[in-house]
Symmetry: C2
Subunit: 210 residues, 2 copies
Amino acid sequence: MAKKETKQKILDAAELLFAEQGFSDTSLRQITGDAGVNLASVNYHFGSKKDLIKAVMDRYLATFMPASDTALLHLLAQPSVTLHQVFNCFVAPLMQLANIHGQGPAIFLQLLGRGYIDNQGFLRWFIVNHYGQVLNNFTQAIKKAAPGLSSSDVFWRLHFTLGTVVFTMASSEALRDIAKTDFNENIDVEGLVRKMIPYLASGVGAKPIE
Amino acid sequence: MAKKETKQKILDAAELLFAEQGFSDTSLRQITGDAGVNLASVNYHFGSKKDLIKAVMDRYLATFMPASDTALLHLLAQPSVTLHQVFNCFVAPLMQLANIHGQGPAIFLQLLGRGYIDNQGFLRWFIVNHYGQVLNNFTQAIKKAAPGLSSSDVFWRLHFTLGTVVFTMASSEALRDIAKTDFNENIDVEGLVRKMIPYLASGVGAKPIE
DNA sequence: GTCTATAATGGGATAGAC
DNA sequence: GTCTATCCCATTATAGAC
């Protein structure tokens, strides 16, 4: 029982620090210090720092990916589809991550961005190998909503979209602070995600260069 | 004379490693090893690792920013403006960075993304304080091209755009490899930038949620 | 300006008592 | 399962001979 508690405390502290500072800039001493547990417990429970990173990521991926996949499959069964509907498939699964942690949605997207950029792409490998089918369904849905796009266009625009989302979320705290100061605008993560959707849908649906 | 050579060799080696691996994951030993110079020379010439990072960034910013500003000011003097024109202001200044290094355009954007995400925002501070006027003119141009957008919308969409660009460039090598394998598509950095512009222009110009 | 050698620090991981 | 103590390694930075 104390075992489970310690594991949870480590995961909770680690995800916050990883999201804020990145993986390399976060030490096990910081994590265990914040979590109030012993330094050696990370290696006891997770084996290594790298395995801890994977565990932190998978806690989110394991709930986010299946939920998104269900929504995408449901949408693909419809006779016609819009890009807004495609992107909306991810909103509820994302918001549902608040059950894992109050700031779960923001943390997850930050971690996703870190993992994609930081390391030698080991996270990209992990996602493609474990959740590749979700990406396929996402691509299918985009093609159905925007039949004029070539496969190559869809590929590129998916990555443009990923960039928009993860980069914005990685700096979301600072950006929301600025928005509050400069525009007197209080916006939460869900509001920010909804603000992105028209941008993403319009970008993905743009007429490509010939 | 040997002084200048060493400084250059360090900068050339450092920017490649920083762009590929990030700042924290690149050691001075790697840099001096690749550059073929002595370990201690970094501190002699630059003072510290942090100052080296700033020097690497500023070599690019010092040519990119004024050139972009000139193009933006020229555009702002026109009677009417489109979003495509606004984004095109950055293409020539970006491509011109090939004079600094063959892969200069890609390296610069990768560094920009790293600096924006990696550290405690010191790069954001640096850019805003040294090149804030360019950002202002960029904002002005967007507002002129898309008068329906509120200041807040412009603010957010600028950051969405920045995210798209730097994230794509940070993973551009891997993505271009995939495009070659899966779609038999040979694309260089300039081609990729031009592929992004319709996406960005359409995203920025999208009708915002009310 | 350049080099060797080394200081000073902080990192991940582990052995072994409890 | 947990803790202390420690090992071993890599890092940045610097002192001092050349």
